[in-house]
Amino acid sequence: MSERIGTLRELRAALDARQTSSVEIVGECLRRAEASQETIHAFVGLRAEAALREAEAADARRGRGEVRSPIDGLPIAIKDNMVQTGEPTHCASRILEGFISPYTSTAVEGLEQSGAIVIGRTNMDEFAMGSSTEHSVDGPTRNPWDPSRTPGGSSGGSAAAVAARIVPAALGSDTGGSIRQPASFCGVVGIKPTYGRVSRWGLVAFASSLDQIGAFAQTAADCAWVLEAIAGHDPRDSTSIPEPAPAYSGVLSGDLSGLRLGLPKEYFVAEGVDAGVLAAVRDAVAQLERAGAKTVEVSLPHARYAIATYYAIANAEASSNLARFDGVRYGHRAAGAKGLTEMYCRTRSEGFGAEVKRRILLGTYFLSAGYYDAYYRKAQQVRTLLRGDFEQAFMACDALVTPTSPEVAFRLGEKTSDLLTMYLSDIYTVSANLAGIPALSTPCGFVDGLPVGLQILGPALDEATPLRIADAFQRITDHHLACPGGAA
């Protein structure tokens, strides 16, 4: 295996010291990506030629002293649900096969303007619906720590690509934990910013009131660099936050003195969580205390209703968003249909996978006459109560810490037969989406050789505090430096 890819900061330093070039780095990433396809399958498509051409341009810029940003000339991967002009995007679905985007998503435009180089698109659960990257028309991605296990999902390809040191960073999207849970399973850092912090324009919609684009990297400091490139107001997304995004790198002081960390008591009970995971998280909390943080117990009284609330809202919004895939404007169309309705039905039945169909059907049911109030409106009301829980908790603390997932990476096929068990693995992550608050996962230990993630949540608009905590944690621990055997 070729040399493992370092962090964005290491690569930046090597470029600035003229020890390497963008062309060399990008070439190495592409070679590693191709070499790992059979074992890990992190990618659904690589843009080798374009990436190398862009790397040449970045090298030329650097030669002229025109460096656009800290990530100029550095490689990155994007999830297969954000579009880029002239490139395919199919959301790991048959229904979008062959789609070539006529425009670029705002997040990817941010990367381009910063000079970062997109080397390829990563695998995911179809339309981001899943927690294991098994629901992909291209086949599953495997966890670099143990190929018999899933990388988590739905942004499993992005997490696996960073964990296997194929790319230093990747974009993902997080609707109920789709960045944080795979970050936890793969032993990398993954951050979901505040809802509206990164524009959703050009992100294929799953659940519009929950979807948010975020970043994966080996370190919190690298995530800060990527966020700086993609965050900020976008007039093309009406839910985009008007305030300018902070300069995240500037707050990474390593100092936690005076910081109040809230431990939600509902999340620190033995029931439903792996004992080793809970021990690793408690250990991490003790280390944060030694670094100067004070802990305080808080309560999120509606926490146990989060999964039910989430799946009612997410499925309802998904059923509405996915109505656009009808065989008229893009993607797959069933052949030989006699009328329009038959064409719609056959196209959608052939084009969507089983999990997507199941969610569309549940969502349609929740929104249908007679059930709307009992399910959708009810869930929206409980969502208000959940938001209130967090507002209350943040009056007593600056950030919350919890496990990211109740368990370490599970085996491929282990949960596909029982959807409720699969859904319950999102227990700690969905609340941040329902409340719209920022949350990240950072590696905090191992159970049976598999990574454990520590989740850090901040109040709305405050990505800086979770990043500062994770960065401080990484200065006193080395869990984030561990990389899977195959990537060494």
């Binding site: 070539i100 993607g331 059907l361 249908s368």
Partner: protein, 101 residues
């Protein structure tokens, strides 16, 4: 809470423009049962008078000056269509002549 049966699943499938095989429909009845049983825990909570949340971050509806700007070229906009002609999407016959007849 109303329980689900085969005809209910088929009604929802037709609303969603999905056709299901016998096997799929049977499996979905079981999955709906289990899932709705779980979602029903929400009914335990008293939400009388609680304002529903449609979006987590409250923002005023943004407005912008109503100024014309360049739109995507029509040929480019239909380039991904399974069937297109003269910058327009082509679809199968919309009106069923038999039903009309």
């Amino acid at each position: 809470m109303a329980r689900i049966n085969r005809s209910e699943v088929e009604r929802v499938a037709s609303l969603a423009r999905l056709s299901l095989s016998e096997e799929e429909a049977d499996r979905l009845v079981r999955e709906f049962e289990s899932f709705l049983g779980y979602i029903d825990t929400l009914q335990e909570i008293d939400t009388a008078g609680v304002v529903p949340t449609a979006h987590p971050i409250s923002l005023p509806t943004p407005t912008r000056p109503d100024e014309p700007e360049a739109a995507m070229d029509a040929d480019r906009a239909v380039a991904n269509a399974p069937e297109a002609a003269a910058s327009a999407f082509l679809v199968p016959k919309v009106i069923d002549t038999e039903a009309e007849g």
